[in-house]
Amino acid sequence: MRTFALIGIVLVWIAAYCRPVASDEQTVHFPMSPVVKEPAAPDDPSVIHDVRVGELYVIESEEKPLLVADSREGFVSIRTLSGPLEFFAKFSDSVDRDQYESRTYNSQFLYVVQAKTAGEIELITSSDNVILKRIMLTVTVGPRPPPPEPVDPVDPVDPVEPTKSFRVIFVKESGSTLSAEQTAIPGAKAIRDYLNAKTTPEAGGTGWREYDPQQTAVNETPTMKLLWETTQPKIQSVPCMIVEVNGHATIKPFPANVDECVKILKEYGG
């Protein structure tokens, strides 16, 4: 009995103080989504894409030094440290991110990213002038906003499902000259009135936009930002129209005129 208890204590100690080393062919370890119930790490754990103020976002490299850079100045601090190092802190990849915990990082090269100002940055990791990984990182300062609704740009809409969310983005190159009929979209009163009445409100506004194909959405509402970031890379040609219903987004050809546009919108928004 005493032997079993001793083994148990050792296992708990290992679990608490040793970080599992994920097999990464680049030998660069980003904070990964924690495994809550399953004892084994998932095959393809998701890299953590956000860091909150007060947390440590630790990147490890076992063999080579890295260059870790942020795409926009002022949003995070990046410290370069030498391991092994023990931290007592909150971590971005913890199960309970509000709890302090003690961790030892054994890799030789450690890079600690911490939030400074809320925003969105790209974190770029390179070694020997070769980019190893680029990830988008949401930097949160203050109360954490509610998670935006998931968006799947490829799934079709279930026509019988009641509409819980409805958003529309018209994508037009503002430097282009379209036909008179298409130029009236989405400015036409019939379209604006319908969208203002039907789209899902957020942050005091309504859920539709007109964007340029290269539009930046850094200041956008969380859901509209997510919708744009998810669908923009899938746009094949402009002008086009993105319609999101209940978390499913569809990229549609740009309507020929105002009447056709309203008809299409009503098919989705009711």
């Binding site: 036409a188 942050a203 936009r209 340029d212 290269q214 850094v218």
Partner: protein, 275 residues
Amino acid sequence: MDFYKSTIPILDADGPETALSHPPDAKFGLVPRDYSQHPQEMFAQPTEMVLIPQSEWDARYDEQEETQSSLEHIYLSGPNGEPAFKNLDQDGDGYCWNYSVGGSMMLDRLKRNLPIVRLNPHSGAAIIKKGRNEGGWCGEGAKFAREVGMAVEGTDPGEWPLHSRNLKYDTPECRAQMAKYKIIEDWTDLTKQVYDQNLTMAQVATCGFNNIPGPGDYYWWSHSVCRVRWVRIERGSWGQLILNSWPNWGRHGLAVLRGNQAICNGALAIRLAAA
């Protein structure tokens, strides 16, 4: 005085000078562009713009009227025909050259259905002129808006108080806020010296039919205002609908320039602001 749509006044060069064209307390502030300081290369060329030929103007205008899709309609889409936002007020300073930029940025945001944010062109103008009340031309303000952005009107940290020229508000926090309201894509220089008046008019009309707002400098007026729409006053007669930065003027700041007065001497097209 003539009116467009019975409510929007038309400023006529050949008519008598009226209180509308020159209110007693109006401030101007336009200084003609100095090409030695501001060369033609400072803004993108409008060569990519597919011009709308004059033969299409009537059809384009009729379509905008039928569908109520022009910037004029969108601006006047508030409750009971009121504007969606109150036009900016440059008050006692000669900063019209940056208010025409700020008004254009707000119209661009309105067109895109982005949340209405009241920008304060006094911020950029005061920083450019180091707090002095000095004139300029719209390109100066546009360049600053492209590189730095424009502050939000208000008294909270990071905002710029209404009509203030005090540079103490030019803080890092304010600069961070200004960067949120920046011109992301280049502007198009519509009045380069190499172009003649007809081409300038065609470019300005095309912007109007495409709902692209932009500041316009008018030397005859010593004034810079926001260009809103190219409008048909009557068959064969076209004019420039503008949004002024004087309070209680025109119809919610709107008026129409016609004849030679509609030809601007410096104009830019705002194509994209950060969402």
